[in-house]
Symmetry: C2
Subunit: 336 residues, 2 copies
């Protein structure tokens, strides 16, 4: 087999077939994919389904805690999970720069397969395009996902009400900070790794027990917790008040962010979920989340109030209030 991806691998001919068989069939192996049709065909039950997509252009493609393949599976799995869906099937579309090492493609595919297995999803259909050297930056991956929404799910921003608790499943900014460190080649001796993880299992464990108490969920990726909370509260006429002292941030992340003038509230996460839930059940939900390996540092970070309409406020440690707006400008490009 070749050592590098060539334009012929994207031709749709013999070389494309070889690449598909040698790499994608080998790692993604499942009946729907191996049927090899123009589409994957599966049996659906009557009910609600969720459908989502994301493209991944992260740089660098390999980083502490993951790689572009792992994040491409996690991101789409998590988008389905926060919609209350049980993720089932993923598609993946590769856009590869001519000259990309086949060995790296294999590492990425293996990682996708492992993450998909953990999340309980199958990679059932795909596509590979190759562009000339200089026409793409190494590799971009799109995944789309289909999931099944159980009957008991009633998530809606309309269900947010005053007195709800705002739960975050763990520390903020790990992913963004890890990428920043890798990219800038900062010589900081650090153990900061991306939090990149598939949250479907953890979220399902909460939803199967507390579906009624959970009003809405979101994964705080690009734009961070600040942007996600603004999106959730926008148009509800309510206010989210965060307690600065409860915001979970690793000391190392805090240090790097201070050094570089970044705010962890706006840093991307790839393995965290925000849950807005009935205040009365919030403690139990946090305990439930803590049982997952990805939720050990879950905590209540704030409450929903009627104090301001559509705003996110930070009650600071020194006793003031600061309006937390959505991200403006571009804090960090190509973070996912």
């Amino acid at each position: 087999m070749n050592e590098y991806v060539t334009l012929a691998h994207g031709s749709g001919g013999k070389m494309t077939h070889m690449l598909i068989k040698d790499i994608f069939y080998r790692y993604f192996r499942n009946d729907l994919l191996l049927a090899g049709g123009d589409s994957a065909v599966f049996e659906a039950d009557k009910g609600l389904m969720a459908f989502t997509t994301d493209s991944y252009v992260i740089s660098p493609i390999f980083f502490k805690g993951g790689n572009i393949g792992k994040i491409a599976v996690c991101g789409t799995v998590n988008d389905l999970a926060v919609s209350g869906a049980k993720p089932k099937y993923l598609s993946c579309g590769f856009i590869i720069e001519e000259g990309f090492p086949i060995r790296d493609l294999e590492t990425i595919a293996r990682s996708m397969a492992e993450t998909a297995a953990e999340a309980g999803v199958c990679l059932v259909t795909g596509d590979t395009k190759v562009v000339q050297k200089g026409c793409a930056d190494r590799i971009f991956i799109n995944t789309a996902g289909v999931g099944v929404v159980p009957d008991y799910v009633t998530l809606s921003a309309n269900r947010i009400k005053s007195g709800d608790a705002v739960i975050l499943s763990g520390t903020m900014g790990d992913h963004g900070t890890a990428i920043l460190l890798e990219r800038e080649g900062l010589k900081v001796k650090s153990s900061i790794a991306s939090d990149c993880a598939p949250l479907a299992g953890m979220i399902e464990s909460v939803m199967s027990e507390y579906a009624d108490a959970v009003h809405i969920m979101r994964d705080p990726t690009r734009g961070g917790v600040a942007t996600a909370l603004n999106e959730l509260i926008d148009g509800t006429g309510l206010c989210i008040e965060l307690k600065e002292k409860f915001l979970p941030v690793r000391e190392e992340v805090k240090g790097v962010c201070e050094l570089l003038g970044m705010d962890p509230l706006y840093m991307a996460n790839e393995g965290k979920v925000i849950i807005i839930a009935d205040g009365a059940c919030a403690g139990e939900i946090v305990d439930k989340i803590k049982k997952s390996p990805y939720g050990r540092e879950a905590t209540i970070i704030g409450v929903v109030t009627e104090n301001y309409s559509g705003r996110v406020l930070l009650n600071t440690i020194v006793g003031g209030n600061r309006v937390i707006d959505v991200l403006t400008g571009d804090q960090l490009p190509r973070i996912c």
Copy 2:
């Protein structure tokens, strides 16, 4: 609004929201998309569903007969349709190079919306990433699609049998030749346009009447009719024999291909379908296809025989037989 796409448009923050509202919501407007959740949630019936994806990296992005947006909708719609599915929902993921003109993005989005409307599908979920200047070639689009497979569909390569007719819905190589002419800037005075078209309606009209007689379908895109036929016949133990004199090729396409040493059998099509059907019904199916604006030149191009196992043969005009293999090497990169 800005005139050009900036990195901030891909940040997930304020500028991303503006781009989504000003362009994508405006043109793609439908309830599922406007719900604005992490996933689009829709009601499914019990039964078979089809799921597929393709990324589009075509160069140039605007060409006679279409643009990258139109082809991104047609390609995925057609992949669903040839699987026997009625296309329903599309996702779209944009990867945009910093500095891309917003006006061009708008033209592309409008074109996607028009084509989706014609095909009866909704663009329900999407994603936008922006990469630095020089890290992508203008714009890449991924679409994934979900469709519903009616009960009466029984497509399978296992159903191909000796005596079946091979139907092609129109002329070969229009798309590939049109792109070649644009790209090479050849000063050929030509009316050749891409055949890029959504075939869902045409295929549904055939399937609703001849579901049992149609054994399998495929759209001959990258790699052309030759590669698609090889994929279909591979592993069946049967042979496809094409009649050279029946192969529909526009005179102009023939001329350009001869000039440049290309073979129309391997040139990409974006608005054609190959149908392998019971020989007894093939004439009626051709008549049915001809009623569609995209199938006026439909014709039977060959038959399935037992003469050679897993081979595609061309019975040439001069009376010989030539083996038609899958595409080797890369006839034309970035054709879709």
